[in-house]
């Protein structure tokens, strides 16, 4: 039995390895069920040099890295998405088979490491049997051996059954890793290949035989693999599947065979595999216990955690802490970043000679980098919590508790945490949709998150409500302004939920996939894994979304600064370093008015008029694309008020005093309401769009998001303003 002898850290020797895997490195795939600790094992094997990429054609992340074996040999290790079976209905599920076979754009692996949960052997073996039928070089990593209790599976018996080496280990504790590395090294030479083990009914074998003739020539040999692939086709290809790159001949033959057959083919295939498992499982244990102690402890904990009263109390407490941390605790770090960038801007302004170059550096580049970095505190905090929640097993319970509510909106139970985070900021929330497996669930959640009232809307709401609504009390006791603020939160929340319902039935319809939620046993979260995830998510954000945000900041700076005002003192407006939008020195109202942005504001005025907005609000809206709160600073510049975002009182008074040509107040409460609604809905955040672009790997979805949100905002503001006018407000 492979053991837990003195383990060395495989990463310590691999830190010198190059980041780009040379094609000569043997390829090792980690295959296994979800929740078997594959990623933890992957992290153990590859250490610091993991790279995150994407699988071709789907937005599923591909994690790869290199690991140094004992003989100083480097291998490339790839962590495949966890799966219960190789059979597939979608392009995402298809990755597993395509990767192990080296089909399409995948490189054929030199070795598959099957990662199994030692206390879930019965179900894990199902996937192992499928791999065995394909006849690929295979070894078994029997993970979580520390949780298997007093009656762990017998590795020698597993080796005997499958005909390939088996190593017991605990990726979390780091035990058994060196034994696995040694086994991998031997296996790369000896190529241990399992034989097909399951005996299927003769009529099913005849079907498979017939179907193998339709396989592409390259897949017809050896015969045992051809049979396995025919069985795969029978249990995967359907009229309405979403598989890709399936040979049309194979598809037609499979569908014809399924139609012609009167038998229950799925049952024949699956039941044959499970009857093999049921027959041989007892041999793999010394005693046949019911379930390991770990499960019993978790079950006891679940009586409280999933209790209607205590369970929900705990749930609210956890969510409150999460929300509070995003909303408030991240504040000092955000302020620090903003202050640092304001200081940098100030410093550079005095150092560099005045001119376009200085403005480009300070207003474009520096504030652009600031705009990116300012998201880091919330992203890191959110992923810290997600890491702990996932690792401990509580995230699955969140989904379990909330599924009833989320289901009615067409969302997955796991969408709850990202949606809640949307109240703080849409950017980390969109990154957090990663916790959902299916592309459809992720997409739908992503599309509605920006409708939640994020913290960047607060300064705008405060300005508008403070300026245009009287500080009176309705019915003598209800403060109108406060009521309006609460109303905006409620309105946005209801709208988000409605939108999810509508979009889920129209745009991101997809196939309705019933929920399958595994509640893993509770575990002590690993700080190491959590920190690693925080690091990964932050670097991916900086690299991929960051560049887009930076480019947009520079573009907006150009839009609002050119053509330049004649007087050199005219400072460009604020495409400011971020969440509070520190506006630079005062500018005469004329400078922004004559910029491209100002002209654009004038140009769109006819379109904004029916909403009650003038061109000044239009310029503010354009500036707000950098981030919503920049609206305050930009509007300040339009009115020539310095640093309106630090103290909005002068701007507030100015807005109240603004008059139309006929002497009437330009901004009425009705226009204020229309503007509030516009801000609540419109997609005025380039960083959100950049995050969506990163997560969907397309321009289509951010474009759609911008169009639907802004369109809806226009429509509702228009309706409110026009109906309000008709009613005489």
């Amino acid at each position: 039995m492979a053991s837990t002898t003195t383990d060395r850290d495989p990463t310590s020797t691999s830190t010198t390895s190059s980041h780009e895997a040379a094609p000569a490195q043997p390829l090792v795939l980690l295959v296994g069920n979800p929740n078997t600790g594959k990623t933890t094992l992957f992290n153990r094997l590859t250490g610091q040099n993991a790279r995150i990429g994407n699988y071709p054609g789907v937005t599923v992340e591909r994690r790869s890295g290199s690991s140094r074996l004992d003989g100083n040999r480097l291998v490339e290790v790839v962590d495949l998405p966890g799966t219960y079976s190789l059979s597939a209905r979608s392009a995402e599920e298809q990755i597993a088979l395509w990767a192990v076979l080296g089909q399409g754009q995948y490189r054929a692996p030199d070795l598959c490491v099957f990662v199994a949960d030692a206390s879930q052997l019965s179900r894990n073996l199902y996937l192992a049997l499928q791999l065995a039928e394909l006849g690929l070089p295979l070894i078994v990593a029997l993970n979580m051996i520390d949780e298997a209790g007093e009656n762990p599976p017998n590795t020698a018996a597993i080796e005997q059954l499958l005909g390939v080496p088996c190593v017991a280990l605990s990726a979390r504790r780091g035990s058994g890793i060196s034994a696995l590395l040694a086994a991998m090294e031997r296996a790369l030479v000896e190529k241990p290949t399992p034989r097909p083990l399951v005996s299927y009914p003769p009529e099913l074998l005849a079907d498979a035989e017939e179907l193998s003739a339709s396989l592409p020539a390259a897949l017809r040999q050896p015969a045992s693999r051809a049979r396995a692939l025919a069985l795969w086709a029978l249990t995967s290809i359907e009229e309405d599947d979403e598989l890709t790159e399936i040979d049309p001949g194979l598809r037609a033959a499979t569908l014809a065979l399924r139609r012609a057959s009167r038998r229950d083919l799925d049952h024949e295939v699956i039941a044959a595999r499970y009857s093999f498992i049921d027959e041989h499982l007892p041999k793999l244990y010394r005693r046949l216990d019911r379930h390991p102690r770990k499960r019993a402890l978790s079950e006891r904990a679940d009586r409280i955690v999933l209790h209607p009263l205590w369970g929900f109390g705990l749930f609210m407490l956890v969510m409150l802490v999460l929300f509070q941390s995003l909303f408030s605790w991240s504040d000092p770090a955000i302020s620090l970043i903003e202050d640092a960038f304001a200081w940098l801007q100030g410093g550079l302004t005095t150092l560099l000679p005045a001119g376009i170059f200085r403005d480009f550096v300070t207003q474009g580049l520096v504030s652009g980098v600031g705009n990116v970095l300012v998201f880091l505190p919330q992203i890191l905090l959110l992923f810290f919590f997600i890491g702990l929640l996932e690792d401990s097993g509580y995230m699955a319970r969140v989904a379990y508790l909330m599924d009833r509510i989320m289901k009615s909106l067409g969302l997955h139970g796991r969408a709850f945490v990202p949606m809640l985070s949307g109240f703080a900021c849409a950017v980390p929330a969109i990154l957090a949709t990663r916790t959902m497996e299916r592309q459809r669930d992720r997409l739908l959640t992503m599309l509605v998150i920006p409708l939640m009232t994020c913290s960047a809307r607060l300064p705008v709401y405060t300005l508008i409500i403070g300026a245009l609504f009287p500080p009176t009390r309705a019915f003598g006791f209800l403060p109108v302004q406060g009521l309006l603020m609460v109303g905006m939160y409620l309105f946005a929340t209801v709208l988000t939920l409605l939108s999810a319902g509508v979009l889920g039935r129209t745009v991101v319809k997809g196939r309705k996939v019933p929920l399958i939620l595994e509640l893993p046993p509770y575990r002590l979260p690993s700080l190491r894994g959590t920190l690693k995830m925080m690091w990964e998510r932050a670097t991916v954000f900086l690299k991929e979304a960051g560049t887009v945000i930076l480019a947009c900041t520079v573009a907006l700076w150009v839009l609002l600064s050119f053509p330049r005002a004649p007087e050199p003192a005219a400072a460009p407006p604020a495409v400011a370093a971020s969440h509070t939008g520190s506006a630079p020195a005062s500018a005469p109202p004329s400078s922004i008015a004559q910029s491209y942005g100002g002209r654009l504001g004038h140009a769109i005025e006819p379109a904004l008029k029916p909403l009650g907005f003038d061109w000044k609000i239009g310029v503010g809206l354009i500036g707000a694309f950098a981030a919503r709160e920049v609206f305050v600073a930009t509007l300040g510049l339009v009115y020539g008020i310095d640093a309106a975002d630090d103290d909005a009182t002068p701007l507030r008074d100015r807005l109240r005093a603004e008059t139309r040509a006929d002497g009437e107040a330009a901004y009425t409460p009705l226009m204020g309401l229309s503007l509030l609604i516009f801000f609540a809905i419109s997609c005025q955040c380039m960083s959100t769009l950049a995050a969506v672009k990163r997560e969907t790997k397309s321009y289509r979805w951010p474009a759609f998001m911008f169009a639907y949100m802004t369109g809806l905002a226009y429509l509702l503001s228009f309706t409110v303003f026009q109906v309000g006018r008709l009613l005489g407000f």
Binding site: S87, R123, A271, D403, R404, I516
Partner: protein, 84 residues
């Protein structure tokens, strides 16, 4: 309780069977979520939650059933009584 038969839409039915819910497998209803859905099942040592609508497609019987699912003594679905 043991699984007698799984009905329902082919892809989901296949997924449930692949998770081990084949005829003859012991299955236990652990609890119903506080809001009434989903339900938590214990199958092959794993805790699996699915929605009531789909759980209703799993036909179960008290006592033992042959793996072929043939003799069906007093079949009951999950639907009727979920008070655990």
């Amino acid at each position: 309780m043991q699984v007698v038969r799984v009905a329902g839409h082919s892809s989901f039915r296949r997924r449930l069977m692949e998770l081990g819910l084949v005829p003859g497998t012991r299955v236990e209803l652990v609890r119903v979520a506080p809001l009434g859905d989903p339900v938590e099942l214990l199958v092959r040592g794993a805790s699996l939650s699915i929605r009531k609508a789909e759980a209703g497609e799993i036909e179960v019987a008290q006592g033992s059933v042959s793996p072929a699912g043939k003799p069906v003594p007093k079949a009951v679905g999950f639907e009727p009584d979920l008070s655990v």
